[in-house]
Amino acid sequence: MENSLLDRRTAPGAAVGEGLGEGGRESIVKARGLRKSYGKLRALDGVELNIATGSISGLIGPNGAGKTTALKALLGLIDVQGDLEVAGMDPRAARHRLMDEVCFIADVGILPGWMTSRQLLDHVEKVHFRFDRRRAEKLLSTTEIPADKRIRSLSKGMVTQLHLSVVMAIDASLLVLDEPTLGLDIMYRKTFYDRLLNDYYDGRRTIIISTHQVEEIEHLLTHLLFIDKGRIVLDQSLQAMAEHYVEVAVDPEQREAARRLGPMHSRELLGQLVCLYGGVARQQLEALGEVRTPAVADLFVARLTGEKGRQTEGNQNEN
């Protein structure tokens, strides 16, 4: 199953060009110089994005980095400066038309609590012309969600399942997920992503996921976007990331040699030095110890602390 899912995902690795996403595919999201401020706070500070059709992109960043603001901008929920095109439309001018093509699930339960799940299906069926009610009912039949109970009386896990079932029954080309499994227990989280991949993703649709729980989604992703202080600090396919970044568990006698090569980030783990390098030949690093592809979470920490380290150094030099 895992292999067939991987096959369905976009072949990564190619450079990102104007109007084209990874692998030379058409971009479903094109953003140039997106800016948004709340008073003195710059939530988005010149965001550049090119997300290829059919990719599964992870938008990862610390709290307050601008993830939700960026996603809201893509959905046309806030006004931003800059050039923006999603599914061939400007979300700021045509949010409601865009919603024919785009679905999203937010970080909190946003389904109306006063409705029952049956009423919810009734409503969406009449309002969203690309909604397949039979498919939604089939998906819901695999859950324990009662049809005539008010949504406010369901558990958070059930509400998320219900929302996912509704979204999966809509024939949209882009799905945006903003911390969709926040507050769910591990069973629901696993089920959520399993259903997303097995029953929804077909290689044609594009998914953007923003989450803190990077470990849970890194096996799904074809593309990584790191955001910090309103800027995209990494925009790379998973394959390119695996080729560019290498983590080494350094042998004790190679510690000095490892430091001389200038790791992006290093840490002590059970008495062993672990270094993360970017753009250093793998063969050169193999002499230092055990070489492996870094986890996304480790790369994230390395990139962000590296950025902060460089900024601190820069400030000190200026002073």
Partner: protein, 278 residues
């Protein structure tokens, strides 16, 4: 085949479902109160008025042409007018605000429904749907007393029949509904004003909406030494004074034109606020 009308119909149905308590409880309470008052009177003091009272009622209801006689039940239905106004104001104050408060706003925004459609669905609910929900209650409240009195009035020799009671109640209910939505259209600026604050306020939208009216009036008096705004409010809310209206003449009047233009501007403001005020 799904059309924009199907979509708009679903939006209206959603409004009725969401605010069902407000929309059903208010007319039920008003109806029960009115019927209680009537039967207390009939079984109490009116009972003793006897034959002459029935003759008087019969002369008002039984002999004149239906169109003249209908004024009596129409007058009896008047307590429903402020009830509809109050229900509409409460509904308009909470409808957009509640979406943001319970965060369902994000779900509604994920549907292919424009902010203009969403705001218009609320305005149509206030002008047409709420009076339509009240209409059967008005009918019952008129029908019960008329049917109760009909045999006695017939016995008193007034020529009043049960069939006429039915016709009067039905005619009065339809007229009442027409006048109510006509009033609603004339009060479109008020509807737009409350929707604007429902879409804008972070909290207590009713106080914001009402407070800003007073504030604007005071500012005008203080800064410009004029009371134009008070005149405007008076002009807008005079539609509240319920009375017989010539429906076509009111529909195509300058008052209606001004109300539609001002109301349209305020509704557009509410749609704009809804879009960018998360």
């Amino acid at each position: 085949m799904k059309t924009e009308m199907t979509r708009f119909g679903a939006l209206l149905r959603k409004e009725v479902r969401e605010h069902r308590n407000l929309l059903w409880i208010t007319p039920t309470v008003v109806s029960l109160l009115l019927l209680l008052i009537f039967f207390l009177l009939v079984l109490g003091p009116l009972q003793n008025l006897g034959h002459s009272a029935l003759l008087w009622a019969g002369s008002l209801l039984g002999n004149p042409p239906l169109r003249s006689a209908v004024a009596v039940p129409l007058f009896a239905a008047m307590p429903f007018a402020p009830a509809i106004f109050l229900t509409s104001i409460i509904y308009l104050t909470v409808c957009l605000y509640q979406d943001r408060k319970d965060r369902s706003f994000l779900f509604w925004q994920s549907m292919p429904v424009s902010d203009w459609q969403a705001v218009m669905a609320r305005a149509v609910t206030a002008v047409f749907v709420i009076p339509a929900v009240f209409a059967p209650f008005v009918l019952v409240c008129l029908l019960c007393p008329l049917l109760y009195l009909a045999p006695a009035m017939a016995d008193a020799g007034t020529g009043f029949a049960t069939g006429r009671a039915l016709l009067l109640a039905l005619d009065a209910s339809v007229l009442f509904w027409c006048f109510t939505w006509l009033n609603g259209l004339l009060m479109l600026p008020v509807i737009g004003w409350f929707l604007l604050f429902s879409a804008y306020s972070k909290r207590v939208p009713f106080l914001w909406a009402l407070g800003s009216i007073f504030l604007l009036a005071l500012l005008e008096v203080w800064l410009l030494d004029s009371i134009w705004f008070v005149y405007w409010m008076n002009w807008t809310t005079r539609a509240l004074v319920f009375g017989y209206r010539d429906v076509p003449a009111t529909l195509f009047s300058y008052d209606m034109l001004v109300a539609l233009i001002l109301g349209g501007v305020l509704l557009a403001g509410a749609a704009f606020m809804r879009r960018f005020n998360d």
